[in-house]
């Protein structure tokens, strides 16, 4: 790894691919990103051999889903409401044939909370491990997926200045337009060869609703309670108000943000 490496990190299904496309357009406006070339433009650090890794031209921007890794110096971390993440990962797991079609979302959420649905820790572990170590660092940029959706231009401008990329409003606007959910769905339809979609079911799209708050209609109450019981303080701190589980005031959750779930002492 090099000092000038930047990693786009998030728990899976939190808008990493979209952000990757947006950044690819910022860095390489001359070569529109597709699912065919994205693995070259912004490689997935976990999917490369050591020699492939060494051949990427610097400064490198790479994608990762890892929880805290001390070697990663410069990090853009994207966080998303875990209730939406759970719904999205549920569909993604069906797409990848990890679960059968009749596997219930209640069952899935229980395993999701326990951190058993992927290899990157639980949502809370992943998010908390980065926040607690890096949240004050000038080499750490925290993005909320919901903010990215609500005002993509403004958030992408922050990303550009974090990366030190001179970005005119025109370039920002162009990148945003090229990466609209519609555009992304079209791209997925024509070239679904990227590592994220290879060998998966074609009847379930990778680029899905791209919205926020979808959990309100698709998550059973029991699952919402389960998610919020596990992570209410951390959620509150990130601005994801728990709907069914009560948490303390902001100042009570202050301590708990350090240790989601319980005061340290």
């Amino acid at each position: 790894m090099f000092d000038d490496d930047t990693f786009i990190v998030s728990f899976p299904k939190s808008g990493n691919t979209w952000t990757r496309f947006l950044i690819a357009h910022l860095l390489h406006p001359e070569e529109p990103a597709t699912f065919g070339n994205i693995d070259r433009l912004i490689p997935e650090s976990e999917g490369l051999t050591r020699s492939q890794f060494a051949r990427i031209p610097r400064p490198r921007v790479m994608k990762s889903h890892e929880y805290f890794d001390a070697r990663l110096q410069k990090v853009i971390y994207i966080v998303r409401d875990p209730r939406d993440v759970a719904v999205s990962q549920f569909h993604f797991s069906r797409k990848r044939r990890r679960i059968a079609d009749d596997y219930s979302i209640e069952q899935f959420v229980t395993r999701f909370v326990a951190g058993e649905t992927c290899d990157y820790g639980s949502w809370g572990e992943n998010v908390a491990s980065w926040l607690v170590t890096r949240q004050n660092s000038s080499d750490f940029l925290l993005l909320r997926y919901e903010d990215m959706v609500a005002r993509t231009d403004a958030e992408l401008t922050r990303v550009a200045s974090f990366l030190g990329v001179p970005a005119t409003p025109d370039l920002i606007a162009q990148s945003v337009e090229r990466c609209s959910a519609d555009q992304m769905r079209k791209l997925e339809g024509t070239k679904a060869t990227a590592s994220v979609t290879k060998n998966t079911r074609q009847d379930i799209p990778f680029v899905r609703a791209a919205g926020s708050g979808g959990w309100k209609t698709s998550l059973p109450e029991k699952s919402v309670v389960e998610l919020e019981t596990a992570w209410a303080p951390l959620m509150t701190w990130l601005g994801y108000e728990p709907a069914l589980v009560k948490t303390g005031t902001a100042s009570e959750t202050r301590i708990q943000a350090f240790a989601p779930g319980a005061p340290v002492r």
Binding site: F68, Y120, E125, A128, V132, N136, I255, G261, V264
Partner: protein, 291 residues
């Protein structure tokens, strides 16, 4: 860097150090801490509780509670389940059950400095102040385990409050060993009478461990071929930093890790705590602006 053929050969032979790549089993329990935080002492306490029938020493501790940072993958594979394993790694989500020991980083720095001289990682005239700078910025050898705050922070943030996680402070362990060890026994699901606890404590005392180190230090994987004029078992003291650490070093540690220290109950002397609020406020600013 030890990439390449030698590394691959070691991997294939299983003679590579288990370390972060250790194959974890669902019934493993890990004793985790940053280095120089009382891990060895705790290891002895636990070994004396769990294997009460035999005298615990540096000659058998690696068999009973092996060190994943010192033993090979093949060795770890042969240890029968359920294993109790020593580790210095920062958060690893595969660890199913973790006892985490934390210690005042100002004392850790002092202890680590002596340890680094023992290991000949630094010369005798290496300045403590310079050492502390490396300790805080993570540029010393210790960075393999993250910085102190990264190590403690990731574990506590990810796991504290869960029944599979027990957080101990070295200082509490020193001040009231009996009470803290009783917590450990419960965590391991071991019935321990006050007499059994006392026996384990006696058999793990700093004096006793120092004696054992004198006799067996030459054979133990951790101290073999290291300077024997500086003991591995340090002073086992709390607050030594107050008389040893230069003011600038105290300030450096506290300004880097003050929030984490304050939350763990390590009182700051060069600044006020509760900078946490500013810290959180700063990163919520953009959110409030936008909504």
């Amino acid at each position: 860097m030890m990439y390449g053929a030698k590394r691959i050969a070691k991997y294939l032979l299983g003679s590579d150090i288990a370390g972060r790549q250790i194959a974890v089993r669902p019934d493993d329990t890990f004793i985790v801490s940053y280095p120089r935080s009382g891990n060895t002492w705790t290891r002895f306490l636990i070994a004396n509780l769990l294997f009460a029938g035999q005298p615990i020493s540096f000659a058998n501790i690696e068999r009973l509670i092996p060190d994943a940072e010192a033993q090979s993958s093949r060795y770890m594979k042969r240890v029968p389940s359920p294993r109790v394993i020593k580790s210095h790694q920062y958060f690893d989500h595969r660890y199913p059950k973790v006892l985490y020991i934390t210690r005042d980083p100002r004392d850790v720095a002092v202890s680590y400095y002596n340890f680094s001289r023992k290991y000949r990682h630094i010369a005798d005239d290496y300045l403590l102040e310079q050492y502390v700078h490396g300790f805080v910025t993570g540029t010393l050898l210790s960075s393999a385990w993250g910085t102190w705050a990264e190590n403690v922070g990731t574990w506590v943030a990810a796991r504290n409050g869960q029944p599979t996680f027990l957080l101990l402070r070295y200082e509490d362990l020193i001040a009231d060993t009996q009470t803290e060890l009783a917590k450990v026994a419960r965590f391991f699901g071991v019935e321990a009478s006050p007499a059994a606890l006392s026996r384990a404590i006696e058999n793990s005392s700093a004096d006793h461990l120092r004696e054992l180190e004198k006799k067996e230090g030459g054979q133990w994987v951790t101290t073999k071929n290291k300077r024997s004029d500086i003991p591995f078992i340090g002073s086992a003291a709390v607050g030594k930093w107050k008389s040893v650490l230069p003011g600038a070093s105290i300030e450096e540690i506290e300004s880097a890790w003050g929030n984490t220290m304050a939350q763990l109950g390590y009182e700051l002397v060069t600044r006020k705590e509760v900078a946490v609020e500013t810290q959180l406020a700063a990163s919520t600013v953009h959110r409030e602006l936008g909504q």
